[in-house]
């Protein structure tokens, strides 16, 4: 099967001075911002489950973007959906992911690069624990949208982390 290439239109609205990717307002932010949001989520653990919030927010946003894209473009095949989601991950500048034996029941996701991990190392050096909660949320949203399931259907656990010094990050995905 020939996989479709992700096609997203970008436009700048000169009146509002906003950028749009597809129908959504898009904004450039740096690794300082992404890693400090992540740090805030981690550090708040005694007050609020910030990690869960960060993962769920990412999952919800990605699920919405991909469901909309699949509907608008008539993409029904799960493998094609997963491939498009991988392209979206890179389009956003979040890194490069590959999927190992994915299926409706889950699978394994590997990242040779990840915005949060590269940013974390650049900013603070090696992490003591996995930190790519944005990446984990993205994966959960990707699998749920690919297999027509609602958000919170998949559990994603980061088993190996580039931020901690591994060559690649590895995530286990399960229902």
């Amino acid at each position: 099967m020939i996989m479709a290439a992700l096609k997203l239109t970008h436009r700048f609205d000169a009146d509002s001075c906003r950028h749009y990717v597809g129908d959504l307002v898009s904004v450039l932010h740096c690794h300082h911002y992404a890693t400090l949001f992540t740090q805030l989520a981690i550090d708040s653990r005694d007050l609020v489950d910030g990690i869960r919030i960060l993962r769920e927010v990412t999952e919800d946003v990605v699920h919405g973007v991909l469901k909309g894209y699949f509907a608008q473009n008539g993409i029904a095949d799960a493998a094609e959906r997963l491939a498009l989601g991988q392209q979206l991950f890179s389009f956003y500048g979040m890194g490069k992911m590959s999927l190992v034996a994915p299926g409706a029941g889950g699978g394994t996701v590997e990242m040779g690069t990840a915005h949060v991990d590269e940013g974390w190392k650049k900013k603070w050096g090696k992490a003591a624990a996995p930190v790519n909660h944005i990446g984990a949320g993205f994966i959960a949203g990707l699998f749920a949208s690919a297999y027509d399931k609602p958000p919170r259907s998949y559990k994603v656990e980061e088993k190996q982390s580039r931020a901690m010094g591994a060559d690649k990050s590895v995530f286990a995905v399960s229902l």
């Binding site: 700048f12 898009s26 904004v27 300082h32 708040s44 500048g93």
Partner: protein
């Protein structure tokens, strides 16, 4: 020569963020991402709504701080970039022009349609934002009105721009120069005002 704001916005709004083959966007001495704006808003909203009292103030400060550091490092990357040199630098006659140019870029990149309306060099800056993505947070609250001003990103970046202008030499480690200024939000579209307003003063006067 004064900054031709409209020209800067027209030129800099065309700068594209293209990922490299590894899906990473290195630009302006930082790594950039282009996530949907509602991602940043929803995290801020859920974090703020999950806490109360003094803790809410603490979370707010941490959200502002994330933007403060972002604005300091990325802001420096912008004003030392080849894109800046081409589009803005020829119009720059002094530090104040750098600030006006920075807000034109800030506008061009979709952070906020914002400009400086008052500037006392080294002492005080007032910024107005007539459209900004953080105002969209109001859409998720009852009656489409946020319970408090929530443009944390604009606050942090505005303080950072004053740090860069008047806080001394840029320090990549952020040990000196960063946090010499702080910003308070006095109006917000998200709370029903016609525009957002942001007042930046030295940290000692905050």
């Amino acid at each position: 020569m004064a900054i031709d704001r409209n020209k800067v916005i027209a030129d800099m709004s065309k700068v594209k963020a293209e990922p490299n083959p590894d899906g990473i966007i290195p630009a302006f001495n930082v790594l950039v991402n282009q996530f949907p704006a509602n991602f940043w808003n929803r995290f801020s909203m859920r974090m703020m709504d999950a806490v109360s009292g003094d803790i809410k103030e603490a979370v707010e400060e941490l959200l502002v701080n994330a933007a403060h550091e972002c604005g300091y490092h990325t802001g420096y990357g912008i004003i030392t970039s080849k894109e800046w040199d081409a589009a803005v630098k020829p119009m720059v006659g002094g530090v104040e022009d750098v600030l006006h140019g920075a807000y034109a870029v800030f506008t061009a990149w979709g952070w906020a349609k914002a400009e400086i309306v008052e500037l006392v060099p080294g002492k005080r800056m007032v910024v107005r934002a007539y459209d900004y993505y953080e105002a969209d947070i109001a859409k998720d609250y009852p009656a489409k009105k946020a319970p408090r001003p929530m443009a944390f990103m604009i606050r942090g970046v505005s303080a950072a721009f004053m740090d860069l202008a008047y806080g001394g030499d840029y320090d990549p480690a952020g040990q000196k120069g960063l946090y010499t200024f702080r910003c308070r939000q006095t109006k917000g579209i998200e709370v029903g005002d016609a525009y957002g307003e942001f007042v930046v003063v030295p940290s000692s006067e905050y």
